[in-house]
């Protein structure tokens, strides 16, 4: 251990990224590659009655046009991570607006795109239903999804609620939202005989390989699939599942007998991949006058599609966050003529927006400070991992100056602006999945770590490199980390904040194992100055092996291994358990009195992620998460036309996400105490924790500023007139 772990080491891949040396999936040069362009449906529901590719086929450079009439039948892979539940271009049915109906391949991208506009399609269209309000009476309790039921009952919430001293009964809504990573989804499929290599923008290469192999299950022989995704220009959950365009590209390349590349357009990213579903949440809290929760009834309604019923934004937090003996959670759904939704950064946010706003409403109802109210209701049964939540409230509250807050709405004014302070708890449930890492320390004294994990922009390359260098006692630049390739040992998908908890255990196990192996070789080698030193008395630092107490007796990794004549190889595979990470966020807003416009002017947040492995990348997650929370609260909104169920704003000029000027300086505080129950060097999953409470904290601050309680995001200024 050389103290590298924890330090805010700069990104080891930073230089490659800013110089363009980093090759993203669509950057790879593939000789003879054809370019694909998708034609998408302009109706949301119905059937293709006529499809005429002749003009497209006659267009310059076009090699083929694939449709449901000529593409071989694929197998629909199981629901996760293939949530789509059907494969397009297999029959004439249309399930949503923007569904692919034809796949054009041409010699150049421009030729493919132009030809795609020439494919003539006629439909028999039926009237779609586009919004929850239009079909609320059709809400139902869906079957469980991924083994998780949609109803949870503890105690008798309904009866307790009836007798509660204080009751809060409210509705909260949030619209459809899209991930919009800056790098569009892309696939390049290269067949060589029966082997398929996919250069894919994927958050999980191993799962993507499985899905593609499943789709070709009926082919004889079944193809041998490799998925490569070295760098990702953002994922946010969008690239966690595998979407139809990947399967179609693989199928089309096989038919065309040429490599094929497809890059979705920004507009296609709004219909051909996932989104955060539209939500309505009815929350009923019962409490005593002293602010103790006695009952919670949480009934949410999510948009589903006609073809599946997956609930991706669970209401788990309602069950776990606060101590309450009587809880009834129901996660209902309504089928609409829209694409399948999926996970999107911090799925808890929808639940938290309701719960943490309702808690603020309760705090005013019972006249108890919002922080104090939460402390009174802290769940004592939270596993070890919740212990430092109190510390988060304290640290962030103190740094924010919460003690000076006058709770009366409208009590703070500066010139034309109302100033408001609000807070919320942050909570995220992270995953941990089986992972393996393989470490080779070469005769040159350099180490290479391989694992089929991914860096989705969050810093995996950097943190893994730190852990390896630290475990071995090598300088950072003597360690190379290779990720994102199914040719490497299998590892977890990078989603649900699972990368660190899944991968760091195996990586550090391999690093320590390799270190011990090299030390053993050295002390057994009569040619080594360390010959005969007890292994336990050898220290490794900066590429050297020292005898503790006599630092003149030293050797180097390079010398030990070159004498040894072969590299040392170690594989690590440990299994971690999922858990929760907590935090607290405090927000200041300024609302222009007459115009209603809202500006977030200050954010302070504190977190307990166990041990912080890299303060710089961890802080990056806080800034990013807060920016997401601001977007969720103030602007993000996919507009779906009520009559056609077609997205009206499928571009970054009209789907607004925060710009820098919308995001104030963010103060991030970490409790930074090891969590021995996590075998990832005492670190828990963290990435998606920041942001979960931000929309509620902003709404709570707006209430404090103005006395206006907003329950529907986004809080655009018209809602405050």
């Amino acid at each position: 251990m050389t103290g590298l772990v924890g330090r805010g080491v700069e990104r080891v891949d930073g230089r490659a990224k800013v110089t363009g040396a980093a090759r993203y999936a669509a950057d790879n040069e593939v000789s003879g590659v054809l370019h694909g362009a998708l034609v998408s449906s302009t109706v949301a529901r119905g059937e293709i009655t006529e499809l005429d590719p002749s003009a497209a086929l006659a267009s310059p450079g076009v090699v083929a046009v694939y449709t449901h009439q000529n593409l071989p039948r694929l197998t629909v892979p199981p629901d996760f991570p293939y949530p789509k539940s059907f494969v397009p271009l297999q029959d004439a049915r249309i399930h949503h607006n923007g569904q692919p109906v034809a796949y054009v391949v041409a010699e150049t991208l421009e030729q493919a795109q132009e030809a795609a506009t020439l494919v003539r399609v006629r439909y028999r269209a039926e009237r779609p239903t586009a919004h929850l309000v239009d079909a609320l009476d059709e809400a139902f309790l869906p079957d469980e999804f991924r083994g998780r039921p949609n109803e949870h009952v503890r105690g008798d919430a309904a009866a307790t609620l009836d007798q509660a001293e204080v009751r809060i009964e409210r509705e909260y809504t949030s619209p459809t939202q899209h991930h919009n990573p800056i790098e569009p989804h892309t696939t390049t499929a290269v067949w060589n005989g029966n082997s398929l290599v996919l250069h894919e923008s994927a958050q999980g290469v191993v799962l993507a390989r499985k899905i593609v192999a499943d789709a070709f299950a009926a082919f004889d022989p079944r193809p041998d699939v490799r998925v490569v995704s070295r760098y990702l220009g953002g994922g946010f959950g969008a690239k966690g599942p595998t979407w139809p365009h990947t399967l179609l590209t693989a199928a089309v390349a096989r038919q065309a007998r040429r490599p094929v590349r497809l890059v979705l357009t920004r507009a296609q990213m709004f219909t051909m991949t996932g989104h955060r579903a539209e939500y309505r949440r009815s929350l009923r809290l019962g409490a005593t006058r002293t602010g103790r929760l006695t009952a919670v009834v949480d009934t949410s309604t999510a948009q589903l599609s006609r073809t599946e019923h997956s609930i991706f934004n669970s209401s788990d937090s309602t069950l776990h966050l606060y101590a309450c003996p009587n809880v009834h959670v129901r996660q209902l759904g309504v089928r609409l003529d829209l694409p399948t939704s999926s996970y999107m950064r911090s799925p808890e946010t929808t639940a938290h927006f309701g719960l943490e706003t309702a808690m603020d409403e309760l705090s005013y109802e019972v006249g108890i400070d919002p922080v104090e109210l939460r402390v009174r209701n802290l769940n004592p049964r939270l596993p070890y991992r919740g212990k430092h939540l109190l510390e988060c409230y304290r640290l962030a509250g103190r740094a924010f100056g919460w003690a000076r807050r006058d709770p009366r709405p409208g009590s703070m004014c500066e010139g034309e602006e109302h100033v408001g302070w609000g807070m919320a708890t942050e909570l995220h449930t992270y995953n941990a999945n089986a992972s393996t890492a393989e470490l080779v320390v070469g005769m040159d004294g350099r180490a290479t770590l391989r694992t089929a994990s991914q860096d989705i922009g969050t810093g995996t390359y950097t943190v893994v490199t730190q852990v390896v260098a630290d475990g071995l006692g090598l300088p950072l630049d003597h360690v190379t980390t290779l990720l994102g390739d199914t040719a490497f040992p299998a590892a977890s998908i990078s989603a649900g904040s699972s990368t660190i908890p899944s991968v760091i255990g195996p990586v550090s196990q391999a690093a320590r194992g390799a270190r011990d192996a090299v030390v053993a070789i050295a002390v057994a080698d009569p040619r080594s100055p360390l010959h005969g030193v007890p292994a336990g008395d050898v220290v490794t630092e900066h590429g050297y092996l020292f005898a503790r107490g006599d630092r003149d007796r030293r050797d180097t990794y390079r010398a030990v291994l070159s004498r040894h004549g072969r590299p040392v190889e170690l594989t690590g595979s440990t299994r971690n358990t999922p858990g929760h990470t907590f935090g607290a966020v405090f927000v200041e807003v300024r609302v222009r009195r007459r115009l209603g416009s809202v500006r977030v002017s200050r954010v302070v947040a504190a977190y307990d992620p166990g041990r912080v492995l890299n303060h710089r990348t961890a802080r990056g997650q806080v800034i990013g998460g807060v920016a997401w929370g601001i977007g969720f609260a103030l602007m993000e909104h996919t507009v779906v036309d009520p009559n056609t169920a077609r997205v009206v704003n499928p571009n970054l000029s009209t789907y607004l996400v925060p710009v820098c000027a919308d995001v104030p300086p963010v103060e991030a505080i970490f409790v930074d105490r090891p969590d021995p129950s996590s075998n990832a060097l005492d670190a828990r999953g963290f990435g998606e924790t920041p942001g979960t409470g931000v929309p509620a904290a902003i709404g709570n601050a707006i209430f404090h500023a103005t006395g206006r309680r907003l329950r529907d995001v986004p809080f655009t200024q018209d809602r405050l007139l």
């Binding site: 009520p642 077609r646 925060p658 710009v659 000027a661 986004p714």
Partner: protein
Amino acid sequence: MRNFGYTVARNPADAVRFAAGTPNSTFVAGGTDLLNLMRDGAEAHDHLVDVNRLGLDGIALDGAALRIGALARMRQVAEHREVRREFPVLSQALLASASPQVRNMAAIGGNLLQRTRCGYFRDPGSPCNKRVPGSGCPAIDGYNRGHAILGGSDHCIATHPSDLAVALTALDATVHLLGPDGTRAIPITELHLLPGATPHRETARRRGELITRVDVPRTGAAARSRYLKLRDRATFEFAVVSVAAALRLDGRTVRDVRLAFGGVGTRPWRDSRVEAALRGRSLTHPAIEAAGRVLVRDAEPREGNVFKVELVQRALASVLAELGGLR
């Protein structure tokens, strides 16, 4: 986007002659709107005539007017010292537009002729009377938060998106054109047309006419002017509602006032009745409120944009209170 030809014109007359003689051609300046429209499939042209090298990018102030070459960049005008001093509303409107990158590329003529941001218009998968005459207007019964409450018709309710045009409208600018039949000048208030039954006809510009210059008269009011832009995020976004105001007071009495509005009209909106309600009166909150009511008297809001009726009045009140030093 299909293939197109491209010619760089060397002088204004050549540009006009070439465009007039080339079927399905158009001018391109910064290309920041045109190329997006072509990529999105909202426009298609066989030939582009590049007008960036016509020597029309000067900015000059003389005794009578500010003369802005049509190919001056948004940034150049915004940062021009005399523009900032004598016509602050122009500089502010430009700086509140788009992003630094776009402002470096985009020219004044192109800015005035940029097309609506109505989402249906920019999506060839949707009907739209403006893009395909007679195909219908899905915005009227659909999503219309960004749309106009003034000047709309049963055929189209799209707003004109330019901030600069709003400021120029307040300042009574004149647009100079060169066409196959020679030069002419029209007030900016006559450049953009109301949609009526022909929303695809957007401007009074005739086929092949090149905007060469925009003149802004010097007035006492212009120097005391301001642009207020309200939008859904802090920067890099079009107006939900905007107000360009120029005010000259004599004591508390309004000597001269010029007002134009963005985000509310199907064209940069000017209504002389609003100014008449203020001119010669004492600048008070009740007077401003009365003027605001005049502005929205004929408003025809839809489900999604009804809030603009109130918001534009408050924006007007806010900007006039600030210009007039009212508390």
